[in-house]
């Protein structure tokens, strides 16, 4: 069985539980408890962070949804709201923080910059969307999305959480989850999953340059 299949293998319900409780009701109660106490990680990068703080403040209070406990430590957080432009210098930190969050964990990409690079996409130090490196659950567009838009996105996340089932969820599979490899800052940002591709493309570039050089010399 491949790693991926092993990760999404359904959880085996133990014998003694099979007769006692129907799993769907367990799902409902479990999801109700989880979706009404999602603790966001205090992770504001840029302008969208100010809208996130405005959502946490008294006019659009998101503690009405159970999310008031904003923890700066990733070990105590459930959802990482990536709010703001993701730059190459910051992405190793973001990936490290994502790896440190305990499961079940979710990611919301808030704002155009976190979804797909945003207005700064053409820049040389901007990553074209945080989903290049970490899996994203909900995307919220806007520049910046208004607090009501963010609340709508959080409710969408709650709806997604309510549809999950313990039996098929990837958090409860038997194999341990693999952390995402941390990108390295070299002459440009390097994703360790693409090292082969990088080597190949650089060699092709060098070959093209020497071929040009030979053509010029002739």
């Amino acid at each position: 069985m491949s790693e991926q299949e092993r990760r999404t293998e359904p959880y085996e319900i133990p014998e003694e539980m099979k007769s006692q409780v129907a799993v769907t009701t367990l799902d409902k109660i479990y999801n109700w408890g989880r979706s009404n106490s999602v603790w966001p990680m205090m992770f504001g990068l840029a302008c969208c962070a100010i809208e996130m703080i405005a959502t946490a403040a008294s006019r659009y209070d998101f503690s009405r949804f159970g999310m008031e406990v904003m923890r700066p430590s990733p070990r105590q957080a459930d959802v990482m709201i990536v709010s703001g432009t993701v730059t190459k210098k910051m992405i190793p930190t973001i990936v490290r923080l994502y790896n440190q969050m305990p499961e079940p964990k979710y990611v919301i990409a808030m704002g155009a910059c976190a979804c797909g690079g945003g207005p700064f996409k053409e820049g040389y130090t901007v990553v074209s969307g945080v989903d290049r490196f970490i899996p994203v659950d909900v995307y919220i567009v806007g520049c910046p999305p208004t607090p009501q838009s963010l609340l709508n996105g959080l409710i969408t996340l709650q709806k997604k959480m309510e549809q999950e089932s313990i039996a098929t969820s990837r958090w409860y599979s038997k194999a341990p989850s693999q952390p995402i490899p941390i990108p390295v800052l070299g002459p440009d940002l390097m994703d360790p999953r693409k090292f082969d591709l990088i080597r190949q493309q650089s060699a092709a570039k060098k070959a093209a340059q020497t071929a040009d050089g030979e053509v010029e010399n002739e």
Binding site: G116, V141, N152
Partner: protein, 206 residues
């Protein structure tokens, strides 16, 4: 007395706390869930907490509010859509992050361009909601929408809006931006009247 500063601060917090419930008692049920309640909580003499209970009550956005753009079409007498856009390309040129792609229609027979877009794409992952496309459109064809509830699960499917998803009727535009709609209709009517006055009356030899 040492500690007076802290105590007076705590009294202010207590006052804020008590004010909320006093306000609720004074105003009664219509403080929450009604439009006038929201306006009361939004005015400058609001007292106490002014939380908007989203999603049960939504704070109405002002007319100028800009989110993602949309294309306006008029409905002709026979029920057909008349897209106002002539694919002049000014919005694509003015857009600061260049998130608008327009494909101009070409007449298949003559090869000449037709003033209507064959396709129109906006990448909302790049759009910065600045409103410059709407500001400089000479045909009142692209305007900024008010709909901000656009969260999605998959950006590759949903975040490049094509012409079909962007087209919305002029009645919707009149609903969300009544002052601008009235002003533009008045300008159009004035232009039509000026043209009619300049034209020679029907029946005289040209």
């Amino acid at each position: 007395m040492n500690g007076k500063g802290i105590l007076s601060g705590l009294l202010i917090t207590l006052r804020h706390f008590v004010d909320t419930y006093l306000e609720d008692l004074k105003v009664g049920r219509k403080r929450y869930g009604t439009a006038e309640g929201i306006e009361m909580r939004r005015s400058s003499d609001t007292r106490g907490i002014f939380t908007i209970q989203y999603p049960e009550e939504k704070l109405p956005v002002p007319e100028e509010f800009r989110f993602v753009p949309f294309l306006v079409y008029d409905v002709k007498e026979d029920g057909e859509k008349a897209v106002r856009c002539t694919s002049c390309g000014i919005c694509a040129k003015v857009c600061p992050p260049q998130c608008i792609w327009i494909e101009r229609s070409v007449d298949a027979a003559t090869g000449k361009p037709i003033p209507t877009p064959a396709e129109f794409f906006i990448d909302v992952d790049v759009c910065m909601n600045c409103g410059m496309c709407a500001e400089f459109c000479p045909f009142d064809a692209i305007r900024m929408d008010h709909d901000y509830e656009m969260a999605s699960y998959d950006r590759h499917k949903h975040h490049i809006l094509n012409k079909e998803r962007l087209l919305k009727p002029a009645s919707y535009y009149a609903e969300i931006r009544p002052t601008s709609y009235r002003r533009e209709e008045a300008e159009k009517a004035a232009k039509e009247a000026a043209k009619a006055a300049a034209r020679p009356p029907a029946g005289t030899a040209a």
